[in-house]
């Protein structure tokens, strides 16, 4: 029925040829198996349809079948890039059920690693964004300098990406004085380079041409569609879990919440670069003020009966875990909601042309990238944008049949 309506409308404007442009599951712009189907008219995008079921692995069920220690490592594999945020959130949720506080040194180490991971994630994103707009030189430079922070993480935790540092009741490795010195030295290099990249992002004519005025998300829509993280802050709304709901030691370590109000992709770039600079300062503060003492307390394997909600500001935005225990060594229910899941309605809004706001095919990759999508986090999402009250879904076969009939 809907298809017929579509066709009748098609006849009215027979000079327009509608295309489906599939993006994903294997597509150079998305390194992840999400699937976006764009309805385009020439170069103009008029509808979008997303499917993220490719990455659904059934983690939440698996969490109910393993004990609390095993779950740390399963939680870590929800997302490789924000694994620190996930384990931190998990550890906090379980500690809340236990009702125990962890030693301050452990908190400092957690925060330091979290901020290092944020630097790693944001620089990674900056490089990928440069790659999306075809700026390979910048991509290479950013990733070259990112190796500094990767080496630091590897030195502190034993693996470049998957840190496995947080555990229930503290952290698994202590930080030596030599390591602290190296961290500070690395931060100096990074700060200089990041300031340079900020200059490039503001001044470079082609970056400006590609990023400013693209992917607009108005503050009202952002609130309505529950956007989180840098996507929300780039729309000019001051919101950060670290400030609103401080965890670990975020009420002690000073930092600024960065907002920009141009609402476009360039604002998201600048929010992330500035946040990285903030993180550099926070890591320095942690290194300077780290108290001595234990890094771990021993907690029983089975927490008491209870429930808790734990929130963490992951690099991509607010991350929330809900845990419910039943007194055994396995959780009764563990729910994970990741930032990308919350941001997908917003990105679909950004990618639909309407009322004088035009979206080009060429803008798709950078706009998609601008929310820093992490579908492995999300793994559970499909969105069907309703353009003019109809869903635009055609399979390839239908499209072909249609084209044949029209003699195209």
């Amino acid at each position: 029925m809907q298809k017929e309506e579509l066709r009748s409308e098609d006849k009215k404007s027979s000079y327009e040829l509608f295309f489906d442009i599939p993006v994903g599951p294997q597509h150079p712009a998305l390194k992840e198996p999400a699937f976006f189907k764009f309805k385009v008219e020439g170069e103009r995008v008029i509808g979008v349809d997303a499917d993220v079921s490719y990455n659904h692995r059934g983690i939440e069920k698996a969490l109910e079948q393993r004990n609390y220690i095993q779950n740390i490592y399963l939680i870590e594999r929800i997302c490789g890039i924000c694994n620190v945020a996930h384990t931190l959130c998990y550890a906090q949720a379980v500690e809340q059920i236990h009702g125990k506080e962890i030693p301050p040194r452990a908190n400092y180490i957690r925060l330091m690693i979290e901020e290092l991971a944020r630097i790693h994630s944001h620089t990674l994103w900056l490089g990928v964004a440069a790659h999306e707009i075809g700026f390979d030189t910048l991509f290479m430079y950013v990733w070259r300098d990112r190796e500094v922070v990767m080496d630091l993480i590897e030195m502190l935790t034993g693996n470049r990406v998957t840190t496995a540092i947080n555990t229930i009741g503290g952290v698994r490795r202590d930080v030596s004085d030599e390591a602290k010195y190296k961290v500070k030295k690395g931060m100096d290099i990074l700060e200089e380079r990041l300031k340079y990249y900020k200059k490039v992002a503001i001044n470079d004519p082609t970056i400006n041409a590609r990023c400013s005025g693209v992917g607009i998300l108005k503050p009202r829509d952002a609130i309505k569609l529950c956007a989180v993280g840098p996507t929300l802050r780039a729309s000019g709304i001051k919101n950060d879990v670290r400030a609103d709901d401080p965890y670990a030691l975020h009420d002690e370590v000073p930092f600024n919440v960065i907002t920009y109000d141009t609402m476009d992709v360039l604002a998201r770039v600048l929010v992330r670069v500035d946040e990285t600079l903030e993180s550099v300062n926070m890591v320095r503060y942690c290194v300077d003020h780290m108290p001595s003492g234990e890094v771990k307390i021993k907690l029983p394997l089975s927490p008491p009966i209870g429930e808790s909600v734990s929130r963490v500001e992951a690099p991509r935005g607010e991350l929330i875990h809900y845990a419910r225990s039943n007194g055994t060594n396995k959780p009764e229910r563990y729910k994970v909601r990741t930032p990308t899941f919350e941001n997908i309605p917003s990105v679909c809004e950004m990618l639909t042309s309407k009322n004088g706001y035009e979206v080009n095919i060429a803008d798709i990759p950078i706009t998609l990238a601008s929310i820093d999508p992490c579908f492995s986090c999300t793994a559970r999402m499909e969105f069907r944008d309703v353009s003019k009250g109809k869903t635009w879904i055609w399979s390839l076969e239908e499209l072909k049949a249609h084209c044949k009939k029209k003699g195209i």
């Binding site: 599951p25 294997q26 597509h27 150079p28 390194k31 992840e32 198996p33 079921s53 490719y54 990455n55 659904h56 692995r57 059934g58 983690i59 069920k61 698996a62 079948q65 490592y73 399963l74 594999r77 929800i78 997302c79 490789g80 890039i81 694994n83 990674l124 490089g127 991509f139 290479m140 430079y141 990733w143 070259r144 190796e147 990767m150 693996n159 470049r160 990406v161 998957t162 992490c374 492995s376 793994a379």
Partner: protein, 140 residues
């Protein structure tokens, strides 16, 4: 050595396919192309279209939904083609072993030529794996 075989060894073009990974292996595969590691030294380029590629680099556990697409991409690649499984999840399902939506390993879906262990492997380990694959082909 005959010239065709030599050319094949010297120009392995990669196609990266993520079958539902946690992104850790993906960023390490991407990192292997960046200045510090520079896979282009071996003539490897990351290609976008399956029609141009020789080596399929797969990361992540194979989920139910992605299996058909993986097969389609695999069939779209021109012969001769090689498959490299990167990371524990891809090799055997790893931590997702027993999940209702995950196949136990890539080799249960398509034939695999080389395995690179690690969770995620260091970019050096990936380079080492690619070089090992090329060496093996040289010998065969």
């Amino acid at each position: 050595m005959n010239i065709v075989k030599w050319a094949r060894l010297k120009s392995p073009w990669l196609l990266h396919f993520n079958t539902g990974a946690c992104n850790a292996c993906d960023i390490e595969v991407l990192a292997a192309l960046t200045p510090r590691y520079d896979l282009e030294r071996f003539g490897a380029l990351l290609k976008a279209s399956p029609r141009h590629a020789d080596v399929l680099v797969v990361t992540g556990p194979v989920t139910r939904q992605v299996k058909d697409r993986l097969l389609r991409v695999y069939n779209q690649m021109p012969d001769p083609k090689f498959v490299v499984a990167v990371g524990t999840c891809c090799i055997s399902g790893g931590v997702f072993n027993g999940c209702y939506n995950v196949y136990p390993g890539l080799d249960s879906v398509i034939p695999v030529d080389a395995y690179i262990f690690g969770c995620p492997p260091k970019p050096e380990a990936i380079i080492n794996g690619v070089v090992a694959l090329l060496k093996k082909l040289e010998g065969s």
